[in-house]
């Protein structure tokens, strides 16, 4: 079966022209969407349904730079299904001390936060958000370009760098979510699907 890059007639590269991808997605949708095969024979209808589901999955995996990296890692590691996470959240060594501090503050807070703690946590959360944005920019920018440019022999190293950066980002995301919850900013329900980790 063709991979998601091949669905769009693309090479296996992380640099993608998103506007062109969208145009191609619309073209393929017009080709395969079940709406246009309503009067067809059952076998053809089933094919349209399958192809259209595949086009949608491919577009979802490739349109977002981070999802694209996650998909590439799966593909390179030969994992066909989306079973299990691509990476496990991992604290960046440089931030360990700071993270412990935050975790401690969170655990000690009890039910209500005093204004001082609240202000400190807010500052920390904003700093972590900035750091996460930075990590995302690294993944989508230089690290992705490095994988695209790497010779075959250097690709495993480039892939490992991407995985590391994704693990850091996933960790930051978890801490930010915990902080937001502690600050009472989380919605009443946890949106599992929102998490990219």
């Amino acid at each position: 079966m063709s991979d998601f890059f091949e669905v769009f007639g693309l090479e296996r590269r992380l640099a993608i022209d998103v506007a062109a991808l969208q145009r191609r997605f619309y073209e393929l949708s017009r080709r395969w969407h079940p709406d246009f095969h309503q009067a067809a024979a059952p076998a053809e209808q089933a094919r349209a349904l399958e192809e259209s589901a595949r086009v949608n999955a491919a577009y979802r995996a490739l349109r977002d730079p981070l999802a694209r990296v996650e998909y590439l890692i799966r593909l390179e590691e030969g994992r066909a299904t989306r079973e299990g996470a691509v990476v496990n959240p991992k604290a960046p060594p440089a931030l360990l001390a700071e993270m412990f501090e935050i975790q401690e503050a969170l655990e000690a807070r009890g039910d209500s936060l005093d204004d001082g703690t609240r202000a400190t946590l807010t500052v920390q959360r904003d700093a972590l958000r900035a750091r996460m944005a930075e990590a995302e920019a690294q993944i989508a920018g230089p690290l992705s370009r490095a994988w695209d440019a790497a010779a075959a022999a250097d690709r495993p190293a480039a892939l490992a760098a991407l995985k590391d950066a994704l693990a850091t980002r996933a960790y930051l995301r978890t801490v930010i979510d915990d902080l937001a919850n502690a600050l009472g900013e989380g919605t009443e329900e946890t949106h599992v699907a929102n998490r990219r980790d």
Partner: protein, 600 residues
């Protein structure tokens, strides 16, 4: 390809529409009296089933046997709805699985009640076209889960309609607006109906309507507005009469008749808005803003990215709703198309796309809720995240945990919570016929596919042998195929009896209308008639009264037509007098400097 109609099966009103081949535009099909909306109300009487306006009229008289807002009960269990049951005057039976109502001496499920509404619309379309109509696109709130969608499809089947597509209401509305060339860009559709709220964010480009995110609340709508106002009116009554009234209106709730009077009064009061009413509605309107923000976040957008806002649903007529929406998105919302009709018009457009009549438009919708399976410890493992474009599929490997195990269970849920028990249970699947092997050896690949209707299909295959595994589905809140088959058969039996009863009621109503008119005319102008003519009319009135007391439809119809004939001259005289009167009034109005044609 045979004809496909578009149906908006609403909480309060339902409509049927189609695309006129000559103009290429969607139009609503009215009933014989020119009414476009069919109240989604079904009355169960000893004489048969009443639908729409006729059922609405008996609501206050026979509250226990008249079902309204049944859409709120579709695809739900007793546990889900027990808190609001005290507001419904009809009886809902406690029990497992699908909700059951006890009305008019029989037991019915919500899909069967909806089927009665659908059948009425089907007949309306058949009368219009003069040929059978067997296929329909039916709309549902975007935030409807799998069970609610399936229940809607079942309702169609019971009504003898092949529901070729379930379409989300806000996206249907966007199709109707799209046809009017509202333009390209990012559109937010805010849909507040009688019982449900939806927000959908779409990108419209080159004829493709791509839904980016959707959110909502399937239990928030005009009905809740009415309820808040009803409680307020109750308090008012209490204050005026210094009477002890239970705030939870348990006492009044038992008095179904009074409750219905009150509900209708509340509905009327809502339309005549005041500041006091806005204060009461504010918390409900605010509840719609959270889903709007979540949908924006899921689409990766901010309010300023939205190019246009479209309002759908009768409840968006409330000025407070318009103000809040405008504040949130920072731009004035569109509401050029009638908010009561726009969804049906959009359904007709989608029907025309499916029939091959429109080739340049395509709707790419999403699944509103994440789909997952329960894993060890009751944690949900998400297979298909919410806002994934449909159709979509996910594959998952399953194996056995005990040596020689031949059956594997799966519990499929829908929702955003981490624990299975906090989400919506869709169904339990049993994979059977696995060859006995050591634990962990069998590899069963299960494909979860959400089709273009937003409805789940599951297939399983043993990987080593490539053999399809058999799956038994136990829907948590759905009807089994056998249930639906039985209901289809029953509906035919009832339908025949129902049609007889309805036709009798209709001719009686017609007779009543004629009698009322004739009697009034006779009082006003009888003195101007000759003795001969007066006697003839009196005889015809007496004959019709006698016929009306019986069950013979043809006799009633003949006597009605004879009375009509006998009063032709009288009617002409009345018409002349009315015309003359209207002219006189107009002249008076002009003299006084008022426009006579303007309302109010």
């Amino acid at each position: 390809m045979s004809r496909i109609v578009g149906i908006d099966l609403g909480t309060t009103n339902s409509l049927v529409a189609y695309v006129d081949e000559r103009t290429g535009l969607p139009v609503v099909i009215p009933d014989r009296d020119g009414r476009r909306l069919l109240p989604s109300i079904v009355g169960f009487t000893p004489d048969g089933v009443l639908v729409g306006e006729a059922a609405r009229r008996q609501l206050a008289r026979r509250p226990a046997d008249t079902v309204y807002s049944v859409k709120r009960l579709m695809g739900r269990g007793w546990e889900d709805v027990k808190d609001e049951l005290r507001y419904f005057p009809f009886r809902v039976l406690p029990g497992e699985g699908v909700v059951r109502l006890a009305v008019g001496g029989r037991e019915v499920t919500p899909p069967e009640v909806s089927a009665i509404v659908l059948r009425t619309l089907k007949e309306r379309a058949e009368t219009h076209f003069g040929e059978p109509v067997e296929k329909a696109v039916v709309t549902v709130p975007a935030y409807f889960n799998d069970s609610q969608r399936q229940a809607t499809k079942d309702a169609g089947r019971i009504a003898g309609l092949d529901v070729v597509r379930i379409v989300n209401e806000p996206t249907a509305a966007s199709l109707a607006y799209g046809l009017h060339r509202l333009g390209q860009g990012v559109i937010a559709v805010y849909d507040l109906g009688g019982g449900t709220f939806d927000i959908s964010i779409l990108r419209v480009k080159d004829g493709i309507f791509e839904v980016l995110a959707t959110n909502g609340d399937t239990h928030l709508g005009g009905d809740d507005f009415d309820r808040v106002l009803m409680l307020w009116l109750l308090e008012d009554v209490q204050a005026r009469h210094h009477r002890e009234l239970d705030r939870d209106c348990v006492e009044l709730a038992r008095d179904g008749e009074a409750m219905q009077e009150l509900r209708l009064a509340a509905e009327a009061a809502k339309i005549r808005l005041s500041t006091e009413i806005e204060r009461l509605l504010e918390p409900l309107v605010s509840r719609t803003l959270g889903p709007c923000r979540q949908a924006l976040a899921d689409a990766g957008l901010t309010p300023s990215d939205i190019d246009q806002v479209v309002l759908v649903g009768g409840s968006t007529r409330v000025p407070l709703v318009r103000r809040r929406v405008q504040e949130l998105f920072g731009k004035a919302p569109h509401s050029q198309l009638n908010p009561d009709e726009v969804v049906a018009l959009g359904a007709a457009v989608q029907a025309q796309i499916l029939a091959g009549g429109i080739k340049d438009m395509l709707l790419l919708d999403v699944t509103p809720l994440s789909l997952g399976i329960e894993t060890l410890g009751g944690i949900v493992s998400i297979l298909i995240p919410r806002n994934t474009t449909i159709p979509t599929s996910a594959r998952e490997m399953f194996t056995t945990s005990v040596d020689g195990q031949t059956v594997v269970d799966m519990h499929v849920v829908q929702g955003e919570r981490e624990l299975a028990r906090d989400n919506r249970s869709l169904a339990r699947f049993e994979l059977r016929g696995i060859d006995p092997m050591p634990a962990g050896m069998p590899k069963i690949e299960v494909t979860f596919l959400i089709d273009a209707n937003g409805i789940l299909q599951v297939q399983a295959r043993e990987q080593r042998t490539g053999k399809a595994a058999s799956i038994e589905v136990k829907p948590t809140y759905g009807l089994s195929d056998a249930d639906v088959e039985r209901m289809v058969e029953e509906s035919f039996a009832y339908a025949e009896a129902d049609v007889e009863a309805r036709l009798l009621i209709e001719v009686r109503n017609e007779a009543d209308t004629v009698l009322t008119h004739v009697e009034r005319a006779f009082r006003q102008a009888g003195a101007l008639l000759g003795a001969e003519e007066r006697k003839a009319i009196e005889a015809a009135v007496a004959a019709l009264r006698r016929a009306r007391a019986g069950d013979d439809r043809d006799a009633i119809r003949e006597r009605t037509s004879e009375l009509n004939h006998a009063t032709e001259h009288l009617a002409e005289m009345m018409m002349e007098a009315a015309l003359k009167g209207a002219l006189d009034t107009k002249r008076a109005d002009e003299i006084m400097g008022r426009g006579s044609s303007r309302e109010q």
